[in-house]
Symmetry: C2
Subunit: 291 residues, 2 copies
């Protein structure tokens, strides 16, 4: 496994594969890898000749009062995990390699990025779009893998790739969940004591709305009300949003259809968690066995 | 010569060269080609195995009250000129190919784009950066050629390419001038009657400041005053800016040095013209013989 911290070396490595017609899959991550990330790696290993994973905790997508300093950093164990999985290359730059002195260019989006997570995190998607555009230039892959847990991120990135003509196929993969339904996230490590149990309220709220949809409810107001009500049940939960959205535009649909998605965000004991589920079912989600 | 209006075909053409190690030069234009553009084409033909020219009148870089509708369109004669010059490929998309429905992603810059031309044209550099980033993805060239007449544009694009890790070498080429010093521009066609003669005030102002610098003047205020004074001499001239700037940051230097650049913009009978000259001399500029 090649490990690069320099952009030039990563580009040269991937180009050497490109030029020989060897297909390349790319999994961008912020490290602190869990089985959600590893499901993306496994998809790339399955679908591509070579797989590159980036590990870069991107300062540009954290707000001033967010958890950048506290976010888990485990480069050594991440790299060894990727080596055992059979990954071909790891790109792990430091911040000065990615944001050199005088950096002032940003990739921004109108509309899609202003709602949902963008409402409470105003610079988040600017940071995400910019770093992902950079990573796609440094690692010119055929396919790039993202988890559906970050639904808005995947919609934003698909739109960016279309709009900027970046020649990469975006693959959005199923959510990996603990046996009780909690979606895997590096931030789950912040949950202490009873918070871990209460964090299942996101999944429970999504399941309740899915069940109501299955029962015939099509009214978006009713479904939204049920979603938010269920989300705010635990004592330590502070719901941020609960909405029904169209899967490509993230707009609120006039009436609920199977491809509409229920999306939620909440603080659980101060830890910000997000999750989502298509009203037509969570059939493709992966539930891990109990530990 | 291959002529493509589809992004996919242009990308496939250039990739077929990339994969065989054939070097590619790229000249992005808005058409209405003049000898300034052709000097860029000639540089690419000289330095690269293959040369691609794009012709796209980019609506995103025109403001609401600017000359998009009036801007000269001469696709047929442009294409035949490029064919005679020995160009290998022309990419001439229409606006719906470049900005499909739902387009909402922009490349923006802080700082560099807010001064000089950016002050009077607030969305201009957003349009330029976005379309050039798109063109660099569609035409993955080794080198791209820009004219130094649009100094701020070349500084902005060099910064964008660095910041977004776009693997292309930006080549900034000398200004081509009429025998009386007027820098070639597609907008020179708008000049009627005495305006053509008065338009030389931009070049004359730059030459006067260069001469004062040669005479020992190093005070930026004095040089700026001379620049603006000379620029406003003709009756129909409305100066927009006249400044001394550092060549890479476009910031005002504390004192004038040979690499500092005098930059000017003025409306001549309503036609907006720009020009610039390093204080150290215009040695590299190309003056055409009198017609």
């Amino acid at each position: 496994m090649e490990i690069c911290s320099e952009k030039k070396k990563a580009l040269a490595l991937v180009r050497s594969w490109n030029s020989r017609g060897i297909s390349v899959g790319f999994v961008p991550t912020m490290g602190a890898l869990h089985r959600g990330h590893m499901s993306l790696v496994e998809a790339s290993l399955r679908e591509c000749d070579r797989t590159v994973v980036s590990i870069f905790l991107n300062p540009a997508q954290f707000g001033e009062n967010e958890d950048f300093d506290r976010y888990p950093r485990r480069l050594e164990s991440d790299v060894s995990l990727l080596g055992r999985a059979g990954v071909d290359g790891v790109f792990a730059p430091d911040a000065s390699e990615m944001y050199p002195s005088g950096f002032c260019t940003w990739v921004v989006q109108e509309g899609l990025t202003e709602r949902l997570c963008g409402a409470s995190r105003p610079d988040f998607f600017r940071g995400v779009c910019t770093v992902v555009a950079k990573l796609f230039a440094i690692i010119p892959a055929d396919r790039a893998y993202f988890g559906r847990k970050d639904l808005q991120q995947s919609v934003v990135i698909k739109r960016m790739v279309t709009d900027l003509d970046i020649p990469v196929d975006i693959r959005v993969m199923p959510i990996v969940r603990e046996s009780d339904g909690l979606a895997l996230s590096s931030r789950n490590r912040y949950l202490i004591g009873g918070q871990r149990r209460e964090a299942t309220c996101l999944h429970e709220a999504l399941m309740e709305v899915r069940d109501r949809f299955r029962g015939g409810e099509r009214d978006v107001d009713c479904l939204t009300e049920a979603l938010c009500g269920r989300l705010s049940r635990p004592a330590t939960a502070e719901p941020e949003y609960g909405e029904i959205v169209a899967p490509d535009t993230l707009a609120r649909p006039r009436s609920a259809s199977p491809d509409a998605v229920a999306v939620v965000a909440a603080l659980i004991g101060g830890t910000r968690l997000i999750d989502n589920m298509p009203l037509g079912g969570e059939l493709e989600d992966i539930y891990l066995p109990p530990e």
